[in-house]
């Protein structure tokens, strides 16, 4: 099986979010970048597990500049075989999806695994856009994936529950929690990642949207502390003051 996993970098989850240039640019000063958790914990690990069970290869693809190389090496350390970086500055989902789809068209992948969204732009658009550009089936929010011959059995989150779905390969999915368990790279993985191929390809595509302005949510007012033996008082405040219940 030939598997492609889409990997994005994202600010570490503990990052303080701030903007410069009058709210037009994300302030990356002091920000550590990590592999986007949905890509790493679920999409990548499930890809590696399927390769271990059925044979094949796991290739990662990232759209971005050389700043992304450390997170790509991390994905290789966890167990991907090789990596592609499309050397372009991604501005929106459509542009990113087109660049990924054009690479995917030139190689015969059976499966493209993405995280359900990145934790910076929370777009959740690239996976289904890639599927449409390739005219492949798409499973959003997959929590389970087994492959048997040419058929994939999946579970996906849907209104109020989980749907069981059967699809023939090739397919694109977006990974949600449950698809796999996080793997910590071992020393051998980290050593071998250095010599695994990271191929850089040029790419050009148009973006259709852009951020005009970032802003931060208003600060919360002070917390009203209610004594622990006055539960009724809290419930009264929730009804009469906050009008929440």
């Amino acid at each position: 099986m030939k598997i492609l996993v889409c990997i994005s970098q994202a600010p570490d989850t503990t990052s303080r979010i701030a903007f410069t240039n009058e709210g037009k640019t994300f302030d990356s000063t002091g920000v550590q970048y990590i592999v986007n958790p949905y890509d790493e914990w679920y999409a990548l690990v499930r890809g590696i597990e399927l390769k271990e069970a059925h044979g094949g290869t796991v290739t990662t693809i990232t759209v971005g500049g050389a700043v992304c190389d450390p997170v790509i090496r991390k994905a290789l350390a966890i167990g991907a075989d090789d990596a592609i970086r499309v050397d372009a500055e991604p501005t929106d989902a459509m542009q990113t999806a087109e660049l990924i789809a054009s690479v995917a068209k030139s190689q015969a992948f059976d499966l493209i695994l993405c995280g359900k969204e990145t934790i910076d732009h929370n777009g959740s658009m690239v996976p289904a856009m890639v599927a449409e550009l390739l005219d492949w089936p798409f499973i959003a929010l997959a929590t389970h994936l087994e492959v048997e011959g040419n058929t994939a059995s999946l579970k996906r989150e849907s209104a109020g529950g989980t749907e069981h779905v059967k699809v023939n390969l090739p397919l694109v999915l977006s990974a949600s929690k449950g698809l796999a368990e996080q793997r910590i790279p071992n020393m051998r993985g980290i050593m071998s990642a250095r010599s695994k191929p990271l191929n850089i390809e040029p790419g050009e595509a148009a973006a259709l949207s852009s951020v005009r302005q970032f802003s931060l949510p208003p600060e919360k007012g002070a917390c009203k502390i209610i004594p622990a033996d006055q539960a009724e008082e809290l419930i009264r405040l929730l009804r009469e003051e906050a009008k929440a219940i």
């Binding site: 989902a93 690239v126 289904a128 089936p137 929690k177 917390c223 622990a228």
Partner: protein, 314 residues
């Protein structure tokens, strides 16, 4: 010209996300002096309550669809038929599967997870899992928006919409649904749509102690949620995990017991309108993000809250 809402159905009724998408489309259409049209697929009687949200016309495709490309083709045909340059979906599984596919087919810019109507050519959405907002502009004439659940709300008071059958060539299904598991046997509102949420963390000490959390949730008619470690160690199901790497929610009321309030947890819940924190540790960071707090033991406080809620309704 019109604005088209893609509305998914569950048991013959629009989902809450579908009603929110319809409400958003109707409000946007009104502001632009356009018609609001809703598209549904599957069994539904009359206008399914969509007129009340402000929708003028319903296009009704008679067969239920669960394949993302079939839905996309149907939505494309509907947008052509009613001359819609703006298409609105819920940012649920439909907004994640159909919206982006449709954006490709219509060569439309898409903004996902919008929280407000567009203003001055830009539309607001949450970014960094709720730690910030972005105003996004689209350079194309055709636009697809997916609306964050519980942000815009369901509008009411409109008159019945005119429903007409709609047919289109949608191609073969490739995604075949073979089964369905209900998230919770007791019919709780799904977490992203819930108005009231009662959540608990490691402070509850073990899965056997969740009865007091569920009791309060039941008394309030709330949905239960949990912190990440609690779902990681299997005390609670994964679909209850809220936060930066779980579900992002914005209910009216979020009650958190025995949760410290780590930055990754707050990211997913800090858009809740009212936050109540119960924690034994007065220094717990969650109190800084809360509206109301009780410094106390969840094992004592939760049952008292349940009793107080029941007394209120008695």
């Amino acid at each position: 010209m019109s604005v088209l809402a893609i509305v998914s159905l569950k048991n013959g009724q629009p989902t809450k996300g579908g009603l929110e998408a319809a409400s958003y489309a109707a409000a946007f259409a009104k502001a632009q002096g356009q018609d609001a049209v809703a598209l549904v697929a599957g069994a539904m009687t009359s206008d399914g309550g969509l007129g009340a949200t402000g929708i003028d016309r319903v296009l009704h495709f008679s067969t239920e669809l669960s394949d993302s490309s079939q839905w996309t083709r149907l939505a494309e045909a509907a947008s052509k038929e009613c001359g819609a340059s703006t298409v609105v979906l819920s940012h649920d599984h439909t907004g994640r599967a159909i919206g982006p596919r449709l954006a490709v087919r219509l060569q439309a810019g898409m903004v996902s997870g919008v929280t407000e109507l567009p203003r001055d050519g830009a539309v607001r959405k949450n970014v960094f899992s709720g730690k910030a907002m972005a105003d996004v502009e689209v350079s194309t004439n055709a636009v697809v928006y997916s609306v964050t659940p519980n942000a815009f709300g369901v509008r009411e008071g409109g008159s019945e919409a005119e429903a007409s059958p709609f047919a289109a060539e949608v191609g073969e299904a490739r995604e075949h649904v073979t089964g369905f598991d209900l998230a919770s046997a007791d019919g709780q509102t799904p977490l992203p749509e819930a108005d009231l949420v009662v959540s608990a963390g490691r402070g509850l000490k073990g899965p056997e102690n969740w009865g007091i959390v569920e009791d309060l949730a039941n008394a309030l008619g709330a949905t239960t949620a949990c912190s990440r470690p609690v779902s990681d160690i299997g005390w609670r199901p994964h679909h209850e995990h809220v936060g930066q790497t779980g579900i992002t929610i914005r209910p009216n009321l979020y009650i958190a017991a025995g949760i410290s309030g780590a930055i990754q947890h707050l990211a997913g819940v800090n858009q809740s309108k009212v936050i109540v924190v119960i924690n034994t540790d007065p220094e717990a960071p969650f109190f800084k993000a809360a509206d109301y707090g009780i410094v106390g033991d969840a094992f004592e406080v939760l049952p008292k809250l349940t009793a107080a809620v029941k007394a209120l309704d008695a």
